[in-house]
């Protein structure tokens, strides 16, 4: 049987950029048996308040796991993430997971990773777990974060900012040549994901981590489904990682 919601203790909860926080959660209270806490691309449902208001937990992907500490990166977007951002060391929050399928770590060849904004979170953990040769392309609106850690793990790191404050001025998709890679992993805003897929079409396979509003997080409510070649698939259970060949975009 899987565990339902359990408590995690906050080890740190640090603002690392405008509206972006890094949350480190200690979960050894219940992880006495060293079970798998998750692979890159998987996520947890987090709740830092007494259930009822906000009503739903928030899906946040794993940015790192080290011993019994899970790191999450999150952007403060609404009430839920705002409450989580106010929690301090020693506070507890409830979490359910790991959930979802995660990235396939066994694929061979040279990898290009493309991130946009907070979509970098699962790709940070991915860059740690891949044995492949990896180039990492990360795009930000303005402030850059986590690139120092990624730089040590990859062959080459490319940075873009929309305001040009660091790296290439413009979009990250303008930076990379799909012909250099055997596969691409990507996560970020939907327009960026669509653009990556467009650039890579008929050249290199793309695996994208999709985002959707979720309620249950475990595949029961069908609230987060997206259209795919296999029919309506659940982002929380069948994804969040999909092959770009499966996903059918509405426009």
């Amino acid at each position: 049987m899987k565990r339902a919601y359990n408590k995690g203790i906050i080890h740190s909860n640090t603002k690392i950029s405008h509206n972006i926080f890094e949350l480190k959660l200690e979960i050894d209270l219940w992880n006495r048996f060293g079970e798998d806490l998750g692979i890159p691309g998987q996520f947890y449902m987090l709740r830092g308040w007494e259930a009822k208001d906000p009503f739903l937990p928030r899906p946040i992907s794993i940015a790192n796991i080290e011993d019994n500490i899970i790191t999450f990166l999150y952007e403060v977007r609404g009430k839920g993430t705002h409450i989580i951002s106010k929690l301090v060391k020693g506070d507890t929050l409830e979490l359910l997971g790991p959930l979802g399928n995660g990235f396939d770590l066994k694929l061979k060849g040279k990898v290009g990773i493309v991130s946009g904004g907070i979509g970098i979170a699962p790709l940070i953990y991915l860059s740690k777990k891949l044995d492949n040769n990896v180039d990492f392309y990360c795009g930000f609106r303005d402030e850059v974060y986590y690139t120092d850690i990624i730089e040590k793990r990859v062959d080459r790191l490319f940075i873009s900012t929309e305001d040009g404050s660091q790296g290439h001025k413009g979009f990250v998709t303008e930076l990379f040549d799909p012909h250099r890679y055997d596969l691409i992993f990507t996560c970020g805003p939907l327009p960026m994901i669509k653009n990556v897929i467009k650039i890579c079409r008929d050249i290199v396979p793309v695996y994208c981590s999709m985002e959707s509003r979720m309620a249950c997080g475990i595949g029961a409510c069908l609230g987060c489904t997206i259209k795919t070649t296999k029919g309506m698939e659940r982002v929380c259970k069948d994804g969040p990682v999909f092959s770009s060949r499966e996903v059918i975009f509405s426009d």
Partner: protein, 305 residues
């Protein structure tokens, strides 16, 4: 010794807690978290004769104390349900309700004919899904429309027939009485309330269909009032639904007159919430020296207790 059993239309439930349709799939996802045999029953995802893809666009939107949904009855269709989902559900040692919707009377009747031939325990007739034409809410607003569909289904249906009412009915008590007259063996209420939300930046409705269904603890007081009024008016078993989050909520519905209760949105905030509710009811009964739920059913209005 306490006894949490309830008998609804000749079907015995080991306890009064049923997982509500649309929040529990066919139980498979929750079976990863707890043995489904603990439940009094499970109501299947809303089924239609043919498979449905569901609605486009945003399907879930959080509100204060609840959520709006516009899933649109995404389901595999009756035949796929019967061959691939029902056998799994029937293995779980709990009561299984097939929640059935439809766009036309013929569609409902054909679905029921196929379910008659299975070992399903009960039918929960959905005349209350606000999100699609086939969800049946067209039949759930005016009593005379409900009479037509329920009486037609009754002629065909060989299983105990529960009719799931919409809180959007013109008059919930009259609706309940009409469904009973038309042959319902029991009633479950309420389905979601019609609601909506607007994205003020895009200046457009959040949902493609504009109107969506509101559920969660924010609807509980209204749902409780409706269960109370309906329980007093009809003599068939009532299943109370609406924002039940803990055993106290469940007991309130039972004291208002419900024989059993369903837990819907609560499953989203904790996949094992139904277990907590079942245990809470048992503890409450022990502490309050209540031997059977019949002792407190409708206690706030029933005479001669």
């Amino acid at each position: 010794m306490i006894n949490t059993k309830v008998n609804i239309c000749g079907v015995e439930l080991k306890n009064p807690v049923i997982a509500a349709s649309g929040t529990f799939g066919f139980g498979r996802e929750y079976a990863e978290y707890f043995p489904l045999s603990k439940l009094g029953g499970i109501s299947s995802k809303g089924l239609t004769l043919n498979r449905k893809e569901g609605n486009k666009g945003i399907r879930i939107y959080e509100t204060t104390g609840g959520l709006l949904n516009s899933i649109g009855l995404q389901n595999p269709g009756i035949d796929e349900f019967i061959s691939n989902q029902l056998p799994f559900m029937k293995k779980q040692d709990t009561i299984v309700l097939a929640n059935v919707g439809g766009g036309t009377i013929e569609e409902y009747v054909t679905s029921i004919e196929r379910l008659n031939k299975t070992n399903i325990d009960m039918i929960e007739l959905n005349i209350s899904c606000p999100n699609v034409k086939e969800g049946g809410m067209a039949f759930g607003i005016r009593s005379k429309d409900a009479y037509e569909i329920v009486s037609e289904v009754r002629k065909t249906c060989k299983k105990p027939l529960i009719v799931k009412l919409s809180p959007n009915a013109e008059n919930i008590v009259h609706m309940a009485e009409t469904c009973v007259k038309a042959g319902a063996d029991g009633l479950s209420l309420v389905n979601t309330f019609s609601g909506m939300a607007i994205d003020i930046y895009s200046k457009s409705p959040v949902f493609e269909n504009t109107i969506a269904g509101l559920s969660g603890p924010c609807i509980k007081p209204i749902a409780l009032r409706m269960v109370y009024e309906v329980s007093k008016a009809v003599d068939v078993p009532i299943i109370g639904i609406g924002g039940i989050m803990d055993y106290k909520d469940a007991i309130e519905f039972i004291m208002a007159g419900a024989w059993a209760i369903q837990v819907g949105s609560g499953n989203f905030i904790n996949p094992t919430i139904t277990l907590d509710i079942i245990e809470g009811i048992e503890t409450f009964m022990v502490n309050q020296r209540i031997k059977s739920l019949e002792e407190i059913r409708g206690i706030i209005w029933r005479e001669n207790i």
